[in-house]
Amino acid sequence: MKNDIFNFRRFGKYFASDLMTCRANYGLSLLTISLVFPIALYLIINVFHLIMESTWNGPDLGLRFFVFCVAMFCLIVTMPVKCYGKLTEKQYGSFWLTLPASKLEKFISMFIIICIIAPFAGAALYIGADALICAFDHTCGKNLIAGSIEFVRKWSEMGEMTMNFVDETFTIEDATLTKELLEQLSSPLLYIDEIFGITLPFLLGAIYFKSSKTVKTILVLFAISTVSSIVMAPIVDSWSSELLENMNNDPTAILEMFSNGLFKNLVLLDTVTDTIVNVALLTCIWFRIKTLKH
């Protein structure tokens, strides 16, 4: 009896061919985004410095990190449409749906390529290009990886400093709280699941909308955030009013509330909420694949 739900051998074959198709459809764009952005930034900033100050000075870490985020956003937004956007077209969609692999295998392959391989390959290429530029031209300072490590180290040191900076107005509890918050904020777990949170809506948009996929996805995200802001505003308002009232009555109560709940469990809370959103998005993608017709 053949396994029609998931078969490792068949999945391996499907994944390899899916990856090859994505490489053919998006490989060049991925290379362009990952390599052109750092090189262009380096050249533009140097030319700018030469014209304005007559000095040879590369882009600093902050600017390079910002452009890196922009490049990764461009990659994440454009890749799902290029790789899977054709599924809504009759020609390619019919071919894809009748390809002998199970829906689960197609779904997992899509997830791995869009949410893991593409962002990490793009980031690795970008960071590699940035490291090469920094190795050749020391005016750029540290490369993105070394710079980020340095940033996290300084962040942790700030926590240590607050522990030492304790006087009458700034208590040891305050300092512990600040240190914990900084530790939580520097946790990579806080940011890794954000990758899925950004890629999954665009993947869903790519296989759901028939045209103007990226624009429609952005508009839907904008509409959802507007509606959720309107819905959440009264709740946040009542919560903050209560908070202010408590602060007037007992200032330590707020500190306790934060230290016992929100700050201590920031990573956990963030991971749980992101996971709920990501699971909901994955469910929508799964049902779209399951019910896609041509």
Binding site: R10, M20, A24, Q91, F95, P100
Partner: protein
């Protein structure tokens, strides 16, 4: 065997197929004929699982096509009337995707490509529509599937390619396969399709083998006028006339004349063939 029972499908308010029932048997090349918009492509897409039946059922060797189970998908191939130009060479395409079909034969792909005088090293995005179609036909035949559905396969093919297509279909398909070819251009497939299915709006007008057709209808090619002919068309050097075969005499079925006869005498033909 494929069993279609009371199949129904509509696009919104527009009903395309209604109460369609038929059985498709192994070892046959079915010709699916019908006017524009009667639901030939819809029926093919329902058979290969691209659409879900809204009424009735389709049973392909005990499986439902819309479940799109790999075991059924690997034993069927649907050649759409419009084919995508993939961003790779034809041979790369065959190697990359052929492995999903258990019986795929790369050697056969090359053979059929050679029959069509098509270059497997050419990039699919650089091919003309006809070349692309020939690549997909070669791929479809190389898959060696039991169920093969082709939607207007000769569209876009030049005159030599049409005869090469007929040759390839008869030579490179399995003995036990069920092949369903939808076409408007009956002359392109005249010598290979048997039985003939003629679809009408929401109905099957005819589903019969050429033998059954020639037993019940007589195709006369003489210049003498037959009084009670169901259909008559002038051709150079005489007429094609279709009449009821009362003497049991054999005649060569002309599919175009048959199609026109069926359309002019729908109820009569249905009555004759449903006896």
């Amino acid at each position: 065997m494929i069993t279609i029972k009371d199949l129904g499908f509509a696009y919104g308010e527009k009903v395309v197929l209604k109460n369609i029932s038929m059985t498709l048997e192994e070892g046959r090349i079915y010709g699916l004929l019908g006017e524009n918009g009667v639901g030939k492509t819809t029926l093919l897409t329902l058979l290969c699982g691209l659409k879900r039946p809204q009424a009735g059922s389709i049973d392909t060797d005990g499986l439902k096509p819309f479940d799109r189970q790999p075991s059924l998908l690997s034993d069927q191939y649907y050649l759409s009337d419009e084919v995508p130009a993939m961003n790779m060479k034809a041979e790369e395409y065959a190697k990359n995707y052929g492995k999903f079909w258990e019986n795929f034969d790369l050697g056969k792909f090359h053979e059929v490509m050679a029959v069509f005088e098509n270059d497997p090293q050419q990039k699919m995005t650089h091919m003309s529509f006809g070349q692309l179609k020939k690549t997909y036909i070669s791929f479809a035949l190389a898959c060696n599937t039991k169920h093969l559905y082709m939607d207007e396969p000769t569209n876009g093919l030049d005159i030599p390619s049409k005869s090469q297509f007929r040759k390839a279909v008869t030579k490179y398909t399995r003995e036990d396969s069920i092949i369903l070819i939808s076409t408007h251009q009956v002359r392109d497939l005249e010598n290979i399709i048997d039985p003939i299915i003629i679809l009408d709006r929401q109905d099957v007008l005819l589903n019969a083998t050429l033998e059954e057709i020639s037993q019940k209808l007589y195709f006369d090619y003489s210049s003498e006028k037959i009084e009670d002919a169901l259909y008559c068309e002038m051709i150079p050097g005489g007429n094609i006339q279709v009449c009821l075969n009362q003497s049991g005499e054999d005649s060569k079925v002309n599919i175009e004349a048959l199609f026109n006869t069926v359309h002019q005498h729908k109820e009569l033909i249905k009555g004759i063939f449903n006896k």
